[in-house]
Amino acid sequence: MNYFPDEVIEHVFDFVTSHKDRNAISLVCKSWYKIERFSRQKVFIGNCYAINPERLLRRFPCLKSLTLKGKPHFADFNLVPHEWGGFVLPWIEALARSRVGLEELRLKRMVVTDESLELLSRSFVNFKSLVLVSCEGFTTDGLASIAANCRHLRDLDLQENEIDDHRGQWLSCFPDTCTTLVTLNFACLEGETNLVALERLVARSPNLKSLKLNRAVPLDALARLMACAPQIVDLGVGSYENDPDSESYMKLKAAIKKCTSLRSLSGFLEAAPHCLSAFHPICHNLTSLNLSYAAEIHGSHLIKLIQHCKKLQRLWILDSIGDKGLEVVASTCKELQELRVFPSDLLGGGNTAVTEEGLVAISAGCPKLHSILYFCQQMTNAALVTVAKNCPNFIRFRLCILEPNKPDHVTSQPLDEGFGAIVKACKSLRRLSHSGLLTDQVFLYIGMYANQLEMLSIAFAGDTDKGMLYVLNGCKKMKKLEIRDSPFGDTALLADVSKYETMRSLWMSSCEVTLSGCKRLAQKAPWLNVEIINENDNNRMEENGHEGRQKVDKMYLYRTVVGTRMDAPPFVWIL
């Protein structure tokens, strides 16, 4: 490669887009490192505390697109206090100061404020794309700043955030000159929506491909919106309460027929069960269907809709579809790659829930299936063994049996063998969540066979430290390990400290890890931040004479090149 001028190498690098590949390239030699860093435009940071914005900008001065993730995954389930951290403001301030030409910002599980959104909107002339996933801390006032100030806004994509809705007029803050929108997703907003402003915005956005409405957008507005955006590819229906005889419904049916580019359908946040048939004409084109929020649609209507969806690749649905419904999916959706089945009924499960039979049917009928998230009431080892045989191509396998520690419901055995079969057969498995009654044995299998495993979620499983040790020793590619309510302690935690340098993070809550164990770990590994999250009594752990043996309720550790963070709240103790 000495023979090529830098410009040529740089041009070659332009074709390398995955950040993993780019990271690999930069390690080849000093020259490549240098070329790569100046040409890198997209950076992904899986843990915002692993590095700081100054170092990021020093290395990648030509940054255009940044992805940042903040809180650990278990924050989704209320296991991480709100003020733990993950503040984006310092990042935006640093990026603004550096005058880097930021165009895209994607944040997940971070705390975003109106102030940061305002600063973002004013600091980057070419800012185009904002994607916020599971974030919190801001209001519609912040959205108004983005709408008003980002002249070239292409994407505003808000997924499952907690946004204080001030019932303001953020939608009217898009200037009349704004015609560049491609993605507009505000499904998670709980408040009223200015329908007039929305319709005018959609009407002047000829490039709009993805539109996801909140529950405040009623059916007649939907009909009008679809009529002025027939080019739509991805639609999130808001409210779907309607009278099938009404004029609005007729208009909707007519508008839907014209949306020949529609490939992805979601929403139905408030839905009357009987009117899905309006969408039947376009079902044969759908590749993605998300009805997981449509709790009021009965299984029979879901099935009728799905029978038309022969090209479906992605399906998110509620368990009200039942095993019978999953059999219909299995026989209809031969292209299915990803399936998520969520629980619909928290009232102790009824006969509408799905069982191992539905899972087996899907595995038998859908040869391309590679990702699954399945909530169910019961499971058997035999079913899992069959699934493994039918589908050896799983990349992501997440099974959640609703009752913790539940054994095989036929044999009353632990589910070790079933999950063992999965990890043995699925050689490309990168992500696994297991549940039900599990002993150390399942971890032996995981350590032995799950060579590509990057993320593992453990809850209420295992007997001794050996379980965790099998995983730490065996899974060479482990990146994120999260454990709750399992009997793993200091021995496992401290066995191989250098392992944590190869991982992004480790979460352990309600396990057997003690304070002195954590302290020893922190001493041995200064390049780790070992955080103890102690919500109840801030100083109790220090003052108590038995502190060493005291069990730690929540521990989160992660590798970092920038040491202890300065923004931790008082209940987080960084060792």
Partner: protein, 247 residues
């Protein structure tokens, strides 16, 4: 922090996060042997049925945990099943709607058409509640409470008291500071319960009928009585709003 080391077997542990626990959380004890029996009843999901009177019942439950099969409400497990809180809220809301609808269907058969409809069911056609935020003066960490799991101001007040003020082992609490019972509603204690309504105004809790309250409340705040004077008429100041973020 109450840990397994210190608790006797069978006691429950309250954690901060709410998950399904609708007003408080208890992590059931893990069966060390891994035996299937350790969970049994305890692993059951919490449902609306468990909370006809969630406040007082739960307070009693967390204290009485000796031997006999655990009371249903202590079967709550924080953060389980692993469903994102956004989705969980939606589920809870939907179930409230379903039961409200079923009630309405049942009621319609008896009630005449021209009788005035319950005003609370009109808002978006359903009872729009779910988890709302609760902050208390002097406490850094905000909490969340599920209004649809409560049926009266008494319930709610009890839940909040348990959340912020309980001092028993096995419950969370700011043990050093607050040891008096709260009595948030009668104006006799150091704190009052206030709420922000949909117009953005802060009001004292308790003035309007419960059902009207739950349709208009946006969030709650346990405020020092000294600060609450003239509250009903007072509008939220802009800098105060700013101070509350990020939460």
């Amino acid at each position: 922090m109450i840990t397994e080391l210190e608790m006797g077997k069978g006691e429950s542990e309250l954690e901060l996060g709410l998950g399904l626990s609708l007003g408080g959380g208890t992590a059931a004890k893990i069966g060390k042997s891994g035996g299937g029996g350790a969970w049994g009843e305890r692993g059951r999901l919490l449902t609306a049925k468990d909370f006809p009177s969630v406040g007082s019942k739960r307070a009693a439950d967390s204290a009485s945990h000796a031997g006999a099969s655990p009371p249903r409400s202590s079967s709550q497990v924080v953060g389980w099943p692993p469903i994102g809180s956004h989705r969980m809220n939606s589920l809870v809301n939907n179930q409230a709607t379903k039961s409200a609808r079923e009630e309405e269907e049942a009621g319609k058969k008896i009630v005449k058409d021209d009788e005035p409809k319950d005003v609370t069911k009109k808002v978006n056609g359903k009872v729009p509640v779910g988890f709302i935020k609760v902050n208390m003066d002097g406490v850094a960490i905000g909490r969340k409470v599920d209004l649809s799991a409560h049926s009266s101001y008494e319930n709610l007040s009890q839940t909040l008291e348990d959340m912020f003020f309980r001092t028993n082992p096995g419950t969370i609490g700011l043990t050093s500071q607050f040891t008096k019972p709260l009595r948030l509603l009668d104006g006799s204690s150091e704190f009052v319960l206030t709420y922000e309504d949909k117009e953005g105004d802060w009001m004292l809790v308790g003035d309007v009928p419960w059902r009207m309250f739950i349709t208009s409340v946006k969030r709650l705040r346990v405020m020092k009585t000294s600060e609450a004077n003239g509250l009903a008429a007072r509008n939220q100041e802009p800098n105060e709003r700013q101070r509350k973020q990020p939460v």
